[in-house]
Symmetry: C2
Subunit: 185 residues, 2 copies
Amino acid sequence: QLTLAVLYPPPCRSCPCSLPHGLETSFTRLMRHLLSATSSLDLCVFAFSNQKHRAAATAEWGVAVSILTNKNYVFISGFQIGALRRAGAVLLFSSLPAYVHHKFCVVDSQLVIASSLNWTITAFQSNRENVLVTEEPDLVRCFIQEFEQLWEAYDPSRYLSMCISCHDCPRIFRGQNKGTRWHSR
Amino acid sequence: QLTLAVLYPPPCRSCPCSLPHGLETSFTRLMRHLLSATSSLDLCVFAFSNQKHRAAATAEWGVAVSILTNKNYVFISGFQIGALRRAGAVLLFSSLPAYVHHKFCVVDSQLVIASSLNWTITAFQSNRENVLVTEEPDLVRCFIQEFEQLWEAYDPSRYLSMCISCHDCPRIFRGQNKGTRWHSR
């Protein structure tokens, strides 16, 4: 219910979250970069469970939000697949043994936010973390390439064809039973 | 036993580790940056358990190595406090509830390696990660400040005085019993 109220003017005085409101903080600066998106927001995050800033809300004002995260973390508290999907976000979940351990975001294909930070409430409120923001074209290009490569690698049609051929991979189908649907980007 | 053989010429043909040898990889590029240190190497890492590249070995050739990591991860397999200390590294361990979740390194106070990467063998061999290397002075200054601030914050003399006054904090003393000693930097 909170989504981006932290930054969105006017400040939501009744917001029950424990983050600072009306203050300039690292969190609000990060949110400002996310909210600067006008066309696309590509998130690639190891864990994503912070309902207070779920970037997918930007989808509501016409930004294409794509989220790639680890399947193991999909059902942790706060992830809210349904809310993200209803807001228009497209999600892909890595389901290979190797973790997608990135914590980056590409805004409008021209700004990168890369960090040590998982997008969880603990990380924002408790940990010591660092966040780098850059528009340096060569760096941005690297992150876009990585995102696109992973997006292709975790395209569910690859898994589905694997499952059809090997008949021993119930993971994807379990995901479908729980309401996880796959979308082309 | 392996330390930096991966990069150090000539390549150690008998090295039993599973990392590529004699190849240009992300790992060897990272190692090259670490080995470029001539005066200091300041590591601030959430987890550090990769004996294959333990940077403290650089201390053997006159580089001052300072490592700040989380106390909870000190005794995981591969950390090797003793080996690091014998190589001359100075270690500090955060023991507050909040995690130091950084994964960065400052080389000679003029180059920063910041990443999504914990310094574990799993991270290097299995995960999808990103590593940023920069000499941009403003960025380097930020990381140096953060390192120095944390180094001061986790100065054990602060904990010890806390313990003396409150008499209910056995954590530090347990650490001492296990051979964890504190050094000024």
